[in-house]
Symmetry: C2
Subunit: 343 residues, 2 copies
């Protein structure tokens, strides 16, 4: 039993809790036999959901937590005051080593604050970025930071680039990943103050394969593997990606269903179209890890369904097996040694 | 002849100059009989292009300008040093009243700098935002600012909101347009420093129908008519919109062409699909005006084809007929009176 990866899941977080969360957790047990899920939250509703399924009971634990942090609650106060909330209790289990990872679909701010203050940051990391993979025409790219640290400084963005590179190389398996910074033009002199200051710093990093600026229109093409930006911009990118995709899909559907001729055609094109568009489905790529922490923290979508919860839990198993956090820690510390030996 | 709207067109600007620019200008003459185009740039190549068409010669003028501002040139220096460039010469015609409007597809920065320094801002406007219309599921929305003023301050964003409202009400004809600010969450306490400071200022404006924050995922749905943001964010939104749209369209096409069955289906769905997706075609909506200037300045896409040039020229006619600039000026000055009487 020593090899089980223990994932503490916030059973009360997100729009579909606890039903979809519990369902996803049970499904994860079927995917990997070295995962154990710890469902944290109000015991009664969790057990009621669990009763619907048959599963390996030895790999499920329920830990009671009486309070719930709501989606719109101001996060810093919520984490401070709701000591018996599912997020706080689950995060503490990661800190103490009772759990290897945290998965949550609830209040993003609270997950970020909890990750930073309860699980804690690796030495040398001042800000822990949220870094989701998203689909491109060529495969996947990593967007870092997409919502953890608004108004970040240039030195933070450089560390995001470093952590993102380590992630893409070790978890996704892309050798020497291409790193680009989101900008409003291709030339170095373009940009806002933050980008102009960060650009030369990135160019000087020997451990980062920095390829310069990326304009937003090139993001979906897969032009870069790691896309570095400040959190406000990253959040806009992530959500607009989703929004434009959804709106266009519904317009395609509407077009296909608009008359008899197109309805007949739709039957013929559907299988090929589905396959082609599946690449663009963000739900395939799990949740977003918060990088640079002492433990694993994965945030999944606020309206996560069982599939997202399951994928996020499995992601934690992969991260643990690949020693992702250790590699990020080693990368950050190696760079810090270089910096201090140069002083 | 007194009612002709005179549009000075930068014949040398953009990736397809002068051929597509001249073509678009000639096409515009056929759409409206009260427009005159002044093609500004190197006379010889312009006249060579003009020879390809037959058109009403009384409504075309060629003004020679020997220099060209290249796409990647640093804009401030370019405007200062290239006194005989097509952009500078054409902008000066707007300032002097020889032309009513400027249309250009070239170096965006140079158009912005030229608009601000040569054509000049309306009193009370510190920053002139670039404000394109873009397609949504419900029609069109205005994105303001999408590239003119990075690192803007809260007071600038409030004026962008005001100018955008006047534009949508008077040019697009939307009564009491809904104004939202781009944010990373729906709640007022969310956001970066700029948004947090701007939010309460917008709420207090009696002349603005402020509906609060808009998350990027809701932008394509048409949730707001005027979408206010800082230029870096606006530029990312505009370009990502285009990028995701293009990538998805090519994936749809790829899917449709992937096997015999889907190819047959494609023939059947094509007309309906085209109609449905045409709504999402940004080229239908012309160029982006630079608002708050003493004359009309419209920036069109760097790789503009004749259709974009034509649409942008026709836009200038509409703007002139509707007295857009006068209405913006009146709106800005009315608000300034309110502010000063409250002091």
């Amino acid at each position: 039993m020593q090899d089980l990866v223990k994932v503490a899941v916030d059973a009360m977080g997100g729009d579909n809790a606890p039903a979809e969360i519990v369902k996803g957790a049970v499904e994860a047990l079927g995917v990997r036999d070295n995962v154990k899920v710890i469902l944290v939250g109000q015991e009664e509703p969790i057990r009621a959901e669990l009763k619907k399924y048959s599963y390996d009971e030895a790999r499920v634990e329920v830990v009671n937590a009486t309070e719930v942090i709501e989606m719109a609650e101001p996060p810093v106060n919520a984490i401070r005051q709701k000591k018996d909330s599912s997020i706080v209790v689950a995060m503490k289990m990661v800190r103490s080593g009772e759990a290897d990872a945290f998965v949550g679909a609830g209040n993003t701010g609270a997950v970020l604050v909890g990750g930073t203050t309860i699980v804690g940051r690796v030495k040398g990391v001042e800000r822990a970025p949220l870094a989701p993979l998203f689909p491109t025409a060529k495969g996947v790219s990593l967007l870092i930071d997409c919502g953890a640290n608004v108004d970040a400084r240039p030195a933070h963005l450089v560390k995001f680039a470093r952590m993102g590179s380590i992630y893409m190389e070790n978890v996704v398996g892309i050798k020497n990943p291409r790193v680009a910074i989101v900008n409003i033009g291709a030339e170095e002199e373009k940009g806002n103050a933050l980008v102009k200051e960060t650009f030369p710093l990135l160019r000087e990093c020997k451990d980062i394969n920095f390829i310069g600026s990326i304009e937003a229109r090139d993001i979906p093409t897969g032009y870069a593997d790691v896309i570095v930006c400040e959190a406000f911009v990253g959040n806009v990118i992530l959500k607009l990606f989703e929004g434009v995709g959804n709106t266009m899909l519904s317009m395609v559907k509407e077009g296909l269903m608009s008359n008899t001729r197109s309805k007949i055609g739709a039957l013929l094109v559907q299988p090929a179209l589905k396959k082609s568009l599946k690449q663009f489905d963000t739900s395939e790529h799990g949740g977003a890890p918060l990088l640079g922490l002492k433990g694993l923290v994965v945030k999944t979508h606020g309206n996560a369904k069982a599939v997202h919860v399951r994928t996020s839990i499995i992601q934690c198993v992969t991260f643990t097996e690949q020693g992702m956090n250790e590699k990020i820690k080693a990368g950050i510390q190696a760079e810090q040694k270089v910096v201090s030996s140069n002083l």
